[in-house]
Protein backbone atom coordinates (compact mmCIF):
# COMPACT_ATOMS: atom_id res chain seq x y z
CA UNK A 1 0.00 0.00 0.00
CA UNK A 2 1.02 3.62 -0.50
CA UNK A 3 0.24 5.50 2.73
CA UNK A 4 0.49 9.27 3.15
CA UNK A 5 0.64 10.55 6.71
CA UNK A 6 -0.02 14.18 7.68
CA UNK A 7 2.09 15.25 10.64
CA UNK A 8 5.39 13.88 11.95
CA UNK A 9 4.71 14.45 15.63
CA UNK A 10 4.99 11.51 18.02
CA UNK A 11 1.93 9.77 16.56
CA UNK A 12 2.91 10.30 12.93
CA UNK A 13 6.54 9.36 13.44
CA UNK A 14 5.88 6.13 15.34
CA UNK A 15 3.16 5.18 12.88
CA UNK A 16 5.52 5.67 9.95
CA UNK A 17 8.22 3.69 11.73
CA UNK A 18 5.82 0.77 12.23
CA UNK A 19 4.54 0.82 8.65
CA UNK A 20 7.66 1.54 6.65
CA UNK A 21 8.94 -2.05 6.49
CA UNK A 22 5.83 -3.34 4.72
CA UNK A 23 4.45 -0.29 2.93
CA UNK A 24 5.44 2.72 0.92
CA UNK A 25 5.07 5.55 3.44
CA UNK A 26 5.39 9.31 3.04
CA UNK A 27 4.99 11.71 5.97
CA UNK A 28 4.28 15.40 5.33
CA UNK A 29 5.50 17.79 8.04
CA UNK A 30 5.74 21.59 8.31
CA UNK A 31 8.49 21.85 10.90
CA UNK A 32 11.98 21.61 9.29
CA UNK A 33 13.58 20.31 12.53
CA UNK A 34 11.07 17.49 12.72
CA UNK A 35 11.69 16.72 9.02
CA UNK A 36 15.45 16.45 9.66
CA UNK A 37 14.84 14.15 12.62
CA UNK A 38 12.58 11.77 10.68
CA UNK A 39 14.92 11.84 7.66
CA UNK A 40 17.81 10.80 9.92
CA UNK A 41 15.81 8.03 11.60
CA UNK A 42 13.78 6.59 8.71
CA UNK A 43 15.42 7.90 5.55
CA UNK A 44 14.93 10.96 3.36
CA UNK A 45 12.37 9.29 1.07
CA UNK A 46 9.91 8.80 3.95
CA UNK A 47 9.53 12.49 4.82
CA UNK A 48 8.60 15.66 2.99
CA UNK A 49 8.58 19.29 4.13
CA UNK A 50 5.32 21.14 3.54
CA UNK A 51 1.75 21.93 4.52
CA UNK A 52 -0.21 18.70 4.10
CA UNK A 53 -3.42 20.64 3.36
CA UNK A 54 -1.82 22.62 0.55
CA UNK A 55 -2.65 21.38 -2.95
CA UNK A 56 0.86 21.92 -4.37
CA UNK A 57 2.33 19.83 -1.55
CA UNK A 58 -0.33 17.15 -1.93
CA UNK A 59 0.34 16.90 -5.66
CA UNK A 60 4.09 16.63 -5.10
CA UNK A 61 3.48 13.93 -2.51
CA UNK A 62 1.61 11.84 -5.06
CA UNK A 63 -1.74 12.02 -3.34
CA UNK A 64 -3.62 10.74 -6.38
CA UNK A 65 -2.01 7.32 -6.11
CA UNK A 66 -2.30 7.02 -2.31
CA UNK A 67 -4.28 4.04 -1.01
CA UNK A 68 -4.63 5.50 2.46
CA UNK A 69 -4.42 8.98 3.98
CA UNK A 70 -3.79 9.25 7.72
CA UNK A 71 -4.06 12.58 9.58
CA UNK A 72 -2.14 12.55 12.86
CA UNK A 73 -1.66 16.22 13.76
CA UNK A 74 -2.66 17.78 17.07
CA UNK A 75 -5.23 20.01 15.37
CA UNK A 76 -8.60 18.55 14.41
CA UNK A 77 -9.23 21.24 11.79
CA UNK A 78 -6.05 20.27 9.93
CA UNK A 79 -6.85 16.57 10.21
CA UNK A 80 -10.36 17.10 8.86
CA UNK A 81 -9.24 19.24 5.92
CA UNK A 82 -6.44 16.83 5.00
CA UNK A 83 -8.89 13.90 4.94
CA UNK A 84 -11.68 15.77 3.15
CA UNK A 85 -9.36 17.13 0.44
CA UNK A 86 -7.74 13.68 0.04
CA UNK A 87 -11.14 12.15 -0.58
CA UNK A 88 -12.83 14.87 -2.62
CA UNK A 89 -9.91 15.96 -4.80
CA UNK A 90 -7.69 12.90 -5.03
CA UNK A 91 -10.20 10.04 -4.58
CA UNK A 92 -8.11 8.44 -1.83
CA UNK A 93 -10.09 5.27 -1.02
CA UNK A 94 -9.57 5.33 2.73
CA UNK A 95 -8.97 8.12 5.24
CA UNK A 96 -8.11 7.88 8.93
CA UNK A 97 -8.11 10.84 11.33
CA UNK A 98 -6.75 11.32 14.81
CA UNK A 99 -9.32 13.11 16.96
CA UNK A 100 -8.01 15.56 19.56
CA UNK A 101 -11.31 17.00 20.82
CA UNK A 102 -13.49 13.94 21.55
CA UNK A 103 -16.62 15.93 20.70
CA UNK A 104 -15.54 15.90 17.06
CA UNK A 105 -15.58 12.11 16.66
CA UNK A 106 -19.25 11.76 15.66
CA UNK A 107 -19.03 14.71 13.27
CA UNK A 108 -15.94 13.36 11.50
CA UNK A 109 -17.70 10.04 10.90
CA UNK A 110 -20.78 11.86 9.65
CA UNK A 111 -18.56 13.79 7.22
CA UNK A 112 -17.25 10.60 5.65
CA UNK A 113 -13.91 10.07 7.39
CA UNK A 114 -13.58 6.28 7.25
CA UNK A 115 -11.91 5.75 10.63
CA UNK A 116 -11.36 7.99 13.60
CA UNK A 117 -9.11 7.43 16.58
CA UNK A 118 -9.59 9.42 19.77
CA UNK A 119 -7.06 8.75 22.50
CA UNK A 120 -9.29 10.53 25.02
CA UNK A 121 -12.28 8.34 24.20
CA UNK A 122 -10.13 5.18 24.25
CA UNK A 123 -8.77 6.04 27.69
CA UNK A 124 -12.25 7.00 28.91
CA UNK A 125 -13.53 3.61 27.73
CA UNK A 126 -10.84 1.86 29.76
CA UNK A 127 -11.53 3.98 32.83
CA UNK A 128 -15.26 3.27 32.59
CA UNK A 129 -14.58 -0.48 32.47
CA UNK A 130 -12.69 -0.19 35.75
CA UNK A 131 -15.45 1.64 37.59
CA UNK A 132 -17.68 -0.37 39.97
CA UNK A 133 -20.83 1.17 38.52
CA UNK A 134 -20.87 0.62 34.82
CA UNK A 135 -22.90 2.65 32.43
CA UNK A 136 -22.91 1.98 28.74
CA UNK A 137 -19.57 1.21 27.08
CA UNK A 138 -19.29 1.68 23.31
CA UNK A 139 -17.34 -1.32 22.00
CA UNK A 140 -17.29 -0.68 18.30
CA UNK A 141 -18.66 1.76 15.74
CA UNK A 142 -20.36 0.38 12.64
CA UNK A 143 -18.84 2.43 9.84
CA UNK A 144 -21.28 4.53 7.85
CA UNK A 145 -24.35 3.56 9.88
CA UNK A 146 -24.13 5.90 12.89
CA UNK A 147 -24.60 2.80 15.03
CA UNK A 148 -22.52 1.21 17.74
CA UNK A 149 -22.21 -2.12 19.45
CA UNK A 150 -22.45 -1.33 23.14
CA UNK A 151 -22.01 -3.19 26.40
CA UNK A 152 -24.18 -2.65 29.46
CA UNK A 153 -23.85 -4.33 32.83
CA UNK A 154 -27.15 -4.62 34.66
CA UNK A 155 -26.82 -3.08 38.14
CA UNK A 156 -28.43 -4.82 41.13
CA UNK A 157 -30.94 -2.07 41.70
CA UNK A 158 -32.00 -1.78 38.03
CA UNK A 159 -35.69 -1.90 37.21
CA UNK A 160 -34.87 -4.56 34.58
CA UNK A 161 -33.70 -7.16 37.13
CA UNK A 162 -36.11 -10.12 37.21
CA UNK A 163 -37.88 -9.03 34.02
CA UNK A 164 -38.16 -10.95 30.76
CA UNK A 165 -36.81 -9.48 27.53
CA UNK A 166 -40.37 -9.01 26.16
CA UNK A 167 -41.19 -6.79 29.17
CA UNK A 168 -38.30 -4.41 28.52
CA UNK A 169 -39.12 -1.00 27.10
CA UNK A 170 -36.22 -0.47 24.74
CA UNK A 171 -35.93 2.64 22.57
CA UNK A 172 -36.44 2.47 18.82
CA UNK A 173 -33.19 1.90 17.00
CA UNK A 174 -31.76 -0.40 19.68
CA UNK A 175 -31.58 -4.18 19.46
CA UNK A 176 -30.52 -6.49 22.26
CA UNK A 177 -28.20 -9.10 20.71
CA UNK A 178 -26.60 -11.09 23.50
CA UNK A 179 -27.20 -11.73 27.19
CA UNK A 180 -24.21 -12.99 29.18
CA UNK A 181 -25.36 -14.49 32.49
CA UNK A 182 -22.71 -15.81 34.89
CA UNK A 183 -20.22 -16.10 32.04
CA UNK A 184 -22.57 -17.92 29.63
CA UNK A 185 -23.59 -16.04 26.48
CA UNK A 186 -27.13 -16.60 25.19
CA UNK A 187 -29.09 -15.21 22.29
CA UNK A 188 -32.04 -13.49 23.94
CA UNK A 189 -35.58 -14.79 23.34
CA UNK A 190 -38.69 -12.90 24.48
CA UNK A 191 -38.69 -15.16 27.58
CA UNK A 192 -35.04 -14.66 28.57
CA UNK A 193 -34.84 -13.39 32.16
CA UNK A 194 -32.52 -10.48 33.01
CA UNK A 195 -30.47 -10.87 36.20
CA UNK A 196 -28.34 -8.46 38.19
CA UNK A 197 -24.76 -8.30 36.88
CA UNK A 198 -25.76 -9.69 33.47
CA UNK A 199 -23.76 -8.23 30.62
CA UNK A 200 -25.90 -7.18 27.68
CA UNK A 201 -24.60 -6.50 24.20
CA UNK A 202 -26.79 -4.36 21.98
CA UNK A 203 -26.63 -2.65 18.61
CA UNK A 204 -27.92 0.88 18.96
CA UNK A 205 -28.06 4.07 16.96
CA UNK A 206 -25.95 6.77 18.57
CA UNK A 207 -29.06 8.89 19.36
CA UNK A 208 -30.80 6.00 21.14
CA UNK A 209 -27.85 5.10 23.39
CA UNK A 210 -28.77 7.33 26.30
CA UNK A 211 -32.38 6.06 26.29
CA UNK A 212 -31.10 2.49 26.10
CA UNK A 213 -28.73 3.02 29.02
CA UNK A 214 -31.43 4.48 31.22
CA UNK A 215 -33.98 1.80 30.22
CA UNK A 216 -31.61 -1.00 31.21
CA UNK A 217 -29.76 0.39 34.19
CA UNK A 218 -31.89 2.87 36.10
CA UNK A 219 -33.53 1.93 39.40
CA UNK A 220 -37.35 1.84 39.58
CA UNK A 221 -38.71 5.37 39.82
Amino acid sequence: MFIIVAGAGKVGYHLARALVADHEVLVIEQDPDRVDFVAAELGTDVIMLGDACDAATMELAGMERADLAVATTGDDEDNLTFCQVSKARYDVPRTVARINNPQNETLFKQLGIDSTVSATNLILGHIEQELPWRGLIPLMTLTGLDMEIVEIRVPREAVTVGKQVKQLLLPQGALLCLVISEGTPRLPTPETMIHADDILLAVASIESEEALRSALTEPPS
Binding site: C53, D75, L80, T81, Q84, V85, R89, L107
Partner: protein, 130 residues
Amino acid sequence: MGCGRLGAELAVMLEADGHEIAILDVDKYAFGHLPPEFKGQKVLGDGTDQDTLRRAGAERADAFVAATRGDNRNALAAQVAKHVFQIKRVGSVIFDPIREEVYRGLGMRTINPTKLEAGLLRESIEREDE
Protein backbone atom coordinates in the same frame (compact mmCIF):
# COMPACT_ATOMS: atom_id res chain seq x y z
CA MET B 1 -16.49 33.42 14.39
CA GLY B 2 -13.35 35.52 14.13
CA CYS B 3 -13.24 39.14 15.30
CA GLY B 4 -10.51 40.36 13.00
CA ARG B 5 -11.09 43.32 10.72
CA LEU B 6 -13.30 41.24 8.41
CA GLY B 7 -15.38 39.61 11.16
CA ALA B 8 -15.81 42.85 13.10
CA GLU B 9 -16.82 44.79 9.98
CA LEU B 10 -19.39 42.14 9.08
CA ALA B 11 -20.77 42.03 12.63
CA VAL B 12 -21.27 45.80 12.66
CA MET B 13 -23.00 45.71 9.26
CA LEU B 14 -25.34 42.90 10.31
CA GLU B 15 -26.14 44.63 13.59
CA ALA B 16 -27.02 47.79 11.67
CA ASP B 17 -29.42 45.64 9.61
CA GLY B 18 -31.22 44.79 12.86
CA HIS B 19 -29.83 41.32 13.60
CA GLU B 20 -28.80 39.98 17.00
CA ILE B 21 -25.07 39.17 16.89
CA ALA B 22 -22.69 37.00 18.90
CA ILE B 23 -19.04 37.24 17.86
CA LEU B 24 -16.35 34.73 18.87
CA ASP B 25 -12.59 35.01 19.07
CA VAL B 26 -9.79 33.17 20.88
CA ASP B 27 -7.96 36.47 21.48
CA LYS B 28 -9.63 38.96 23.82
CA TYR B 29 -7.74 41.86 22.21
CA ALA B 30 -9.43 41.06 18.87
CA PHE B 31 -12.68 42.53 20.25
CA GLY B 32 -10.87 45.89 20.00
CA HIS B 33 -11.77 45.81 16.29
CA LEU B 34 -15.38 46.45 17.31
CA PRO B 35 -16.66 50.01 17.79
CA PRO B 36 -17.71 50.94 21.36
CA GLU B 37 -21.37 51.14 20.31
CA PHE B 38 -21.46 47.44 19.32
CA LYS B 39 -24.20 45.81 21.41
CA GLY B 40 -23.75 42.14 20.47
CA GLN B 41 -22.38 39.38 22.66
CA LYS B 42 -18.58 38.97 22.66
CA VAL B 43 -17.62 35.36 23.33
CA LEU B 44 -14.03 34.51 24.18
CA GLY B 45 -13.27 30.98 23.01
CA ASP B 46 -12.54 28.55 20.21
CA GLY B 47 -15.35 28.58 17.65
CA THR B 48 -14.53 25.06 16.48
CA ASP B 49 -15.46 23.74 19.93
CA GLN B 50 -19.07 22.64 20.34
CA ASP B 51 -19.39 23.81 23.95
CA THR B 52 -18.09 27.26 23.03
CA LEU B 53 -20.55 27.52 20.15
CA ARG B 54 -23.37 26.46 22.47
CA ARG B 55 -22.30 29.19 24.90
CA ALA B 56 -22.54 31.69 22.05
CA GLY B 57 -26.12 30.55 21.40
CA ALA B 58 -25.54 28.26 18.38
CA GLU B 59 -28.64 26.24 19.27
CA ARG B 60 -30.92 29.15 18.40
CA ALA B 61 -28.80 30.77 15.69
CA ASP B 62 -30.28 31.38 12.25
CA ALA B 63 -26.94 31.93 10.58
CA PHE B 64 -23.24 31.28 11.20
CA VAL B 65 -20.18 32.78 9.49
CA ALA B 66 -16.64 31.49 9.91
CA ALA B 67 -14.29 34.38 9.13
CA THR B 68 -10.93 33.71 10.80
CA ARG B 69 -7.59 33.78 8.94
CA GLY B 70 -7.40 29.96 9.10
CA ASP B 71 -9.06 28.04 6.28
CA ASN B 72 -9.10 24.75 8.13
CA ARG B 73 -10.53 26.29 11.29
CA ASN B 74 -13.24 27.98 9.23
CA ALA B 75 -14.08 24.75 7.45
CA LEU B 76 -14.31 22.76 10.70
CA ALA B 77 -16.39 25.39 12.52
CA ALA B 78 -18.75 25.76 9.55
CA GLN B 79 -19.30 22.01 9.40
CA VAL B 80 -19.92 21.84 13.17
CA ALA B 81 -22.48 24.67 12.78
CA LYS B 82 -24.19 22.94 9.89
CA HIS B 83 -24.18 19.32 11.06
CA VAL B 84 -24.15 19.50 14.86
CA PHE B 85 -26.29 22.61 15.39
CA GLN B 86 -28.31 22.31 12.15
CA ILE B 87 -27.87 26.02 11.44
CA LYS B 88 -29.54 26.72 8.09
CA ARG B 89 -27.29 29.44 6.69
CA VAL B 90 -23.61 28.78 7.15
CA GLY B 91 -20.98 30.82 5.35
CA SER B 92 -17.25 30.30 5.43
CA VAL B 93 -14.21 32.24 4.30
CA ILE B 94 -11.63 30.01 2.58
CA PHE B 95 -8.53 31.83 1.31
CA ASP B 96 -6.94 28.93 -0.58
CA PRO B 97 -8.74 28.75 -3.96
CA ILE B 98 -8.24 25.00 -4.24
CA ARG B 99 -9.56 24.23 -0.76
CA GLU B 100 -12.43 26.59 -1.46
CA GLU B 101 -13.28 24.60 -4.57
CA VAL B 102 -13.25 21.35 -2.56
CA TYR B 103 -15.51 22.73 0.15
CA ARG B 104 -17.90 24.32 -2.32
CA GLY B 105 -18.07 20.92 -4.04
CA LEU B 106 -19.06 19.42 -0.68
CA GLY B 107 -22.07 21.74 -0.54
CA MET B 108 -20.73 24.52 1.67
CA ARG B 109 -21.33 28.22 1.06
CA THR B 110 -17.83 29.55 0.68
CA ILE B 111 -16.28 32.91 -0.12
CA ASN B 112 -12.77 33.08 -1.53
CA PRO B 113 -11.27 36.52 -0.74
CA THR B 114 -8.12 35.71 -2.73
CA LYS B 115 -9.99 35.33 -6.02
CA LEU B 116 -12.33 38.25 -5.24
CA GLU B 117 -9.50 40.59 -4.34
CA ALA B 118 -7.39 39.54 -7.32
CA GLY B 119 -10.36 40.23 -9.57
CA LEU B 120 -10.95 43.65 -8.02
CA LEU B 121 -7.27 44.54 -8.26
CA ARG B 122 -7.16 43.48 -11.88
CA GLU B 123 -10.19 45.64 -12.60
CA SER B 124 -8.68 48.70 -10.96
CA ILE B 125 -5.30 48.25 -12.69
CA GLU B 126 -6.84 47.70 -16.09
CA ARG B 127 -9.08 50.71 -15.65
CA GLU B 128 -6.14 52.97 -14.85
CA ASP B 129 -4.38 51.73 -17.98
CA GLU B 130 -7.13 52.99 -20.22
